[in-house]
Subunit: 160 residues, 2 copies
DNA sequence: CTAGTATGGACAAGATGGTTGTCTATATAG
DNA sequence: CTATATAGACAACCATCTTGTCCATACTAG
């Protein structure tokens, strides 16, 4: 980055760091049988695991978890179901709820993501040192909200 | 963040760190007379300053600099011109080029952004320590591309 | 000088991914 | 039993970026 960015360097490096990890994750995921996974799908899977109830997660649940409308969440669910990552079900105690749970294919994607992130983390540790990397994450925890799972609008940096 | 994210923590914290800075920047910018500035406009201003020629930057220049189509860049330019951040001009040596340069209002926004980022940086330094913060940026420099000004598609984490 | 090629800008159409609003069916609280 | 809240389906709309086409201007090789 050229010298004239000065004050912009901290945010920019954070964004670039994120991009580097995410881009490499998805290159590798594509090689490992998940070519259609998109950058946010891993987060969506996590949200689906945690947001729902006993019998799975509904579009409304997911929308609340991700901070988007239930309609937007519904479209994401349709796509993921089409890709074989979600399986529909129902809640025997509430006939309104159309639930979804992760398929084995989705669990495979999550496990591979974990492994790939771990490998990338190890590469970073080799470059900057394990202690420094640990310090970085620890420090970031101190300056970011503790439980920010919602990213609020996924297009937040384009949003009006 | 709950414990089960494990490997996702590094990328997530990087993204959250970026969001925290950008959100606070724009809250403060709004207070300081720039309520319509959007998260990427600061980067666009930087790109406009550096991407063009002697007489300013064209939509095609900007598109190349940002990694988007010239049409998309043109729409961004239209919006920024409408907000009073860009002034049209022309290149006396090339009648095809419709150039744009930053207005004083845009320079004001850039200066205020610099100042606000500096203040936010100081807050972080107070929380985690000046040395640790410096180490963080230094380390991120080592693991990110040196001159990545292009963010390639601005919607990269939604892109197909 | 001229012919061919490259580039800037305008315009239109389409994809994507989000929004709000409305409707019906089911649940739940009083 | 009635009133209210919520799930889901459907439709309309909006924003942003894309591709493709077209014309005017510039550049380069002969």
């Amino acid at each position: 980055m050229s010298s004239d960015l000065q004050g912009f360097e901290l945010p920019l490096r954070l964004l670039l760091g994120f991009r580097v990890l995410i881009d490499e994750l998805h290159e590798e995921l594509a090689r490992q049988g998940h070519p259609r996974m998109r950058p946010m799908h891993g987060f969506v899977f996590q949200a689906i695991m945690r947001a729902g109830g006993r019998y799975g997660t509904t579009a409304a649940d997911l929308g609340r978890a991700l901070g988007v409308s239930k309609q937007a969440a519904g479209k994401t669910i349709d796509m993921l179901e089409g890709l074989g990552y979600l399986r529909p079900g129902h809640d025997p105690g509430d006939a309104r709820r159309k639930t979804y749970t992760l398929t084995p294919h989705a669990h495979d994607a999550l496990e591979r993501s974990e492994q790939i992130f771990e490998d990338l983390r190890d590469q970073w540790a080799e470059t900057i040192g394990e202690d420094r990397l640990r310090a970085m994450v620890e420090d970031l925890r101190k300056v970011t909200p503790p439980d920010a799972f919602r990213l609020d609008t996924p297009q937040w940096f384009n949003a009006p």
